[in-house]
Symmetry: C2
Subunit: 338 residues, 2 copies
DNA sequence: GCTGGCACTCGTGAGGACAGAGTGCCAGGG
DNA sequence: CCCTGGCACTCTGTCCTCACGAGTGCCAGC
């Protein structure tokens, strides 16, 4: 186990490196932090920390920089979550209140998060599978053409066109609409398939084809849209990456464009509590020099989706974690109210 | 007026510079293009072109690069629109067919355009003000709480919560729904306000307050959403910007994050026909070293929105213009079908 | 009006010297 | 046993200089 002071040295190295973005040497450390020991002692400690793999030197006779393992220790043991200042808290309220619909909530959240953390923000739309059905609407557009509209308790709306195998009367339509709603409203998406499977049986044979078509479209929608949507923002913060940003930025931009990658990234985060993935802990290669801070958010006690930020491993973890947590909580409240 | 050969020299310079991204000299020009004259002659021509402001040299004794004015002349007079190859055309079909809803259409379009042009793609959602109403739906969520759902002919869906001043019965609701739809379905959004203004008068006094609330929410939605939405993609193509991309990329990324800027950018494009804005022709400062190629698209003869790409002024104009035009046409078809 | 020749200008890259920062190690002292 | 000061060593980054080459502008001749 590392002594108390060595941990203190590691903390100091991380803090300085995050601030200056330059390898930090023993002398600078003793000057900027009250460690109470001489540079030589710090050098010994640093040698140990390097042996243990917490720090590394880019080249002989340069200062040290934290490794992923070093950041990991820092996050787990040495750093708390920094609560937001009250101006920041006010900013969250001002920014998120007055959102008119779900798109707006997500859009504002992503901008807010990017602004607070000065990093790339990623916000997942509330999941459909974990949502409940608020309403299913069926509209007749033409004799044999329907529109299916699906509304969730989180305000998300999906619609699909349906070409019916046979004309479908207004009364049958009203009937189907009523029966559908009575069965599925308030239920979780995941349960819908069983709830509707016997519906066609109760219709006249000439309508049965259409009813089946409608139901299969509904189920398809549920499956397809399990593939979640998300929104990202603050990509211009990538230019803050550091002096080597020209090399780093390309794979990161590419990864950010792949929704699949991002969804997997958020998916790997724990359902509750904050998850921090540092550097190579991220499965995706392009993100090997980034850290991801993610957390679930939801209207109630349960997470309906996740949000987070992507930034350089050299980031202000306490501040970032504080901002992410605060935003997630407030978004949860907003969703609960609407 | 410039002689035929001088124009030819300009064309050659533009083509070479776009290809190599390096200042092009007189010798290289005569080697790569059959101009039929010696380097010395080309040098004289280049001196003239430089006097006229079509080309410039980064420093004495380097080759020449086209200026914005040079690109302008190239686009206006020297370059056609390059039609797509048939594999590319097939790619468009494969990629866009099978889109399930409007979000999907726009999403696929943006990815496709980014891929074809290897630049940043921007696609505006079909405008509401120019759209027509397909259906207005009113759902009762609770005794005094309604949901308004607005569906456009381009497949766009907007919804709003409404808190009613007084409980509103199912019959009144059905009544309002029917009257609303009979008045506005098939009409343009811009015309809706006049069409509904006298609606409250025909209701019982106890319902009149709710009806007014619903209508004002509807009108609000129309106004708010005139503020258009758009989607961008292919930002990782910004890394293709050239050797000076580290400096260029930041203002561009920042501009791309400002929806307002992008909307203005697309708004400045002509309603019909392709618009190319080169370098400083763009009002926004951050985009002074980019060119924007934009074109309107629509389900019928009229444009309902615009799409385009943003790239370095040093871009392949004929190819880009060809791709943008082809994609716009095909998206128009898709929208017309749905 | 085109061409070949020539002198001139600069940016670029290689090579070398130098200062500065930082380290590792060691011997001495609390 | 741990800390400290000292010292030699190793790198990197920077600043020269210098030679090279690409490209130009100009001029005289065809």
């Amino acid at each position: 186990m590392l002594s108390e002071r060595r941990l203190e040295v590691l903390r100091a190295i991380v803090q300085d490196y995050v601030g200056t973005e330059e390898p930090v040497g023993s002398k600078a450390l003793t000057e900027r932090h009250k460690l109470g020991v001489s540079p030589a002692t710090v050098r010994n400690d640093m040698a140990v920390l390097e042996d243990e793999g917490f720090i590394a030197q880019p080249h002989t006779s340069a200062g040290r920089i934290p490794t992923d393992k070093g950041y990991r220790l820092f996050v787990d043991k040495l750093a708390g979550v920094k609560p937001l200042s009250s101006p920041e808290r006010r900013a969250i309220h001002n920014f998120l209140d007055g959102a008119v619909d779900l798109d707006d909530v997500v859009g504002r959240t992503v901008r807010l998060l990017a602004q607070l953390t000065r990093q790339v923000a990623v916000v997942q739309y509330p999941s459909l599978t974990r949502s409940t059905v608020r309403h299913v609407e069926l509209l007749s557009l033409a004799a044999a053409r329907l529109m299916l509209v699906l509304i969730t308790d989180t305000g998300r709306v999906e619609q699909r066109m349906i070409d019916c195998p046979a004309p479908f009367g207004e009364t049958s339509l009203a009937d189907l609409r009523a029966r559908l709603n009575s069965r599925v409203v308030g239920r979780r998406f995941a349960d819908v398939p069983q709830l509707v499977q016997d519906l066609p049986d109760s219709f006249e044979s000439e309508d049965r084809g259409t009813v089946s078509t409608v139901l299969s479209t509904l189920l398809e929608t549920l499956v397809e849209e399990t593939e979640e949507r998300l929104m990202i923002g603050g990509t211009s913060n990538l230019t803050r990456f550091g002096h080597d940003f020209p090399v780093m930025i390309r794979p990161v931009l590419e990864a950010l464009e792949e929704q699949v990658v991002l969804l997997k990234l958020l998916g790997e985060a724990k359902d509750s509590g904050m998850t921090v993935r540092i550097g190579h802990e991220n499965a995706h290669e392009g993100l090997n020099s980034t850290s991801v801070v993610a957390v679930g958010y939801g209207s109630g006690d349960e997470a309906v989706a996740k949000l987070g930020v992507v930034g350089p491993t050299r980031m202000d973890y306490p501040g970032t974690m504080g901002a992410v947590r605060a935003v997630a909580r407030y978004v949860g409240q907003i969703l609960a109210e609407s």
